[in-house]
């Protein structure tokens, strides 16, 4: 905690920064000569009853975004843990192989990975856009999960493992009872960050014609010419989903860390 005198300066500083940002935004919007009309988005959100009602294209796209991101996170985590285990072994060949894999997927643009998966691998193996999309997201996500897994284990206190060994626990018991409960908690914040960023990256799936949220937004813009309204609304949807994911992560983190307090 900063002392009392300093905290006044901190408050002042934050007001100052917020003030400047607010000024820039308000001034920009004030000078923007634009007639806002969000009503055109209505049918994209919920179909009018004349068209049979039900969720509109944006909500359908949102669902596809959520579904494919979830699949990517699920398969990515499973694969990531496998590669993470390989990264932490002392066996040279598998370690190097895992390292190359992680480096390739972390250090190349997802967009390029997606093109390769869709146009090259997808053509050869006759994959649909959504399969190629989920495949790319899973592999991309797994590289990050593997690295998070490795980092967490590498930082684990060696002394506790010694204590567990000295107690006579088997390696499997040590992994399950001593390492896993603590490592899981330590992995959570970076994992949630990775998942949130994957949900945002899923917008790239629009380039392989998957009708997810971003693709639907592009379509709507070409029809309505209302790009500001559309993209602001789409951003709001991403914001809501990602805020829910991060809050859930924070909640889990809090619950798991209770045991590390007094």
């Amino acid at each position: 905690m900063p002392d009392k005198k300093l905290s006044i300066y901190y408050s002042f500083l934050s007001f100052f920064v917020i003030g400047i940002i607010a000024f820039i935004i308000v001034r920009s919007f004030y000078h923007l000569d634009y007639q806002w009309d969000f009503s055109v988005l209505g049918p994209y959100i919920w179909l009018p009853s004349s068209d049979g009602g039900g969720p509109g294209l944006f909500l359908q796209g949102l669902w596809i975004t959520i579904k494919m991101s979830f699949e990517g996170i699920l398969f990515g985590s499973i694969l990531g843990i496998i590669f993470g285990i390989l990264l932490t072994t002392n066996e040279k060949v598998s370690k190097t192989a895992a390292l190359i894999y992680v480096d390739i997927f972390r250090n190349t643009p997802v967009l390029v990975q997606l093109y390769v998966a869709y146009f090259i691998v997808g053509t050869a193996f006759n994959l649909s856009g959504s399969v190629a999309g989920v495949l790319t997201m899973s592999l991309f996500c797994s590289a990050y999960v593997a690295e998070i897994f490795r980092g967490t284990l590498a930082n684990f206190e060696k002394g506790q493992i010694d204590a567990a060994k000295a107690l006579g626990l088997s390696p499997l018991q040590i992994a399950r009872k001593v390492i896993a409960p603590q490592a899981l908690r330590n992995m959570l914040p970076p994992l949630v960050g990775q998942f949130v960023s994957l949900i945002k990256d899923s917008s790239l799936l629009s380039v392989v014609a998957i009708p997810e949220l971003t693709k639907e937004a592009q379509n709507a813009v070409t029809v309505t010419f209302r790009s500001f309204e559309t993209w602001f609304f789409i951003a709001l949807l991403y914001f809501v989903v990602n805020t829910l994911v991060s809050s859930f992560g924070r909640y889990l983190e809090k619950r798991l860390s209770v045991s590390l307090k007094q």
């Binding site: 002394g159 204590a163 000295a166 107690l167 006579g168 409960p181 590390l260 007094q262």
Partner: protein
């Protein structure tokens, strides 16, 4: 007191190798500890005393030589390594309690998983042991909620929970605030009085004197001098032990 040898080290060498350097930590260590004996290992830091202790329950591998605990040599098989660790309990300088478990869970883990006792039985054992180290009122606290001395007492209870024949203590009081040292020392002295075989690495001479019958002085990977604790401290034979004792009592 039985004269059975429970720990024996024969010509133990330990060399730490990194690609660039070689560090010869233990240079042909020989000693035996009989059942019920309490032996102190003293020496300056870097003398190899902790490494020496850790070879006994195979937390440290050895480069050459033989280590036998209760007649078991862990080079034989994985099972013998497990048996050695079942026969030895260990306490550490930094306690090394599992922070995600309460005091009682820390202590009950060994009986439950290693001795294969039921949950109820393990908790009962843990309760008795924690009461024995004076922590009956702190059983449901997590390590972070306990003082250093209390944490080390939980660690002692955890080490005793698997009914070891030998208790290995790796500088059990060095991480404690001075006013907390006594509560831990008293308990270790109590345990020694029950006939437990103990090997204690320490650089607190008063603790070594209070708890041990025999002392070994290690320096540079060699056992330089050994003998009866009281005689050795009163009249050190070698010059090295003399200067070590002088330095440490001056602190």
């Amino acid at each position: 007191m039985s004269q059975e040898v429970v720990v024996s080290l024969k010509e133990v060498n330990k060399i730490f190798r990194t690609p660039k350097t070689e560090h010869h930590v233990l240079k042909g260590i020989n000693f035996e500890v009989k059942q019920g004996e309490v032996v102190a290992l003293i020496g300056p830091s870097g003398s190899g005393k902790s490494t020496c202790l850790r070879t006994i329950n195979a937390l440290e591998t050895i480069t050459s030589g033989d280590v036998e605990v209760c007649g078991i040599n862990y080079r034989n098989s994985k099972k013998s390594l497990h048996m050695i660790r079942r026969n030895t309990g260990m306490i550490f300088q930094r306690f090394e309690l599992f922070p995600h478990m309460t005091a009682i869970e820390n202590v009950a883990l060994g009986p439950n998983l290693v001795l294969g006792k039921s949950k109820d039985e393990s908790y009962k054992m843990a309760k008795d042991l924690l009461a024995r180290v004076g922590l009956a009122n702190h059983m449901d606290k997590f390590p972070k909620g306990l003082s250093g001395g209390q944490q080390q007492r939980v660690a002692i209870a955890r080490a005793l929970a698997i009914n070891p024949k030998i208790l290995l203590c790796d500088e059990p009081t060095s991480a404690l605030d001075p006013e907390l040292v006594d509560e831990v020392v008293d308990i270790l002295v109590d345990i020694a009085a029950t006939g437990m075989t103990m090997i204690v690495v320490t650089h607190e001479l008063y603790f070594a004197q209070k708890v041990s019958q025999r002392t070994m002085f290690l320096e540079n990977g060699y056992i330089v001098e050994q003998g009866d604790t009281k005689k050795m401290f009163a009249a050190p034979k070698t010059e090295r032990l003399q200067s070590f004792l002088k330095r440490i009592t001056h602190q």
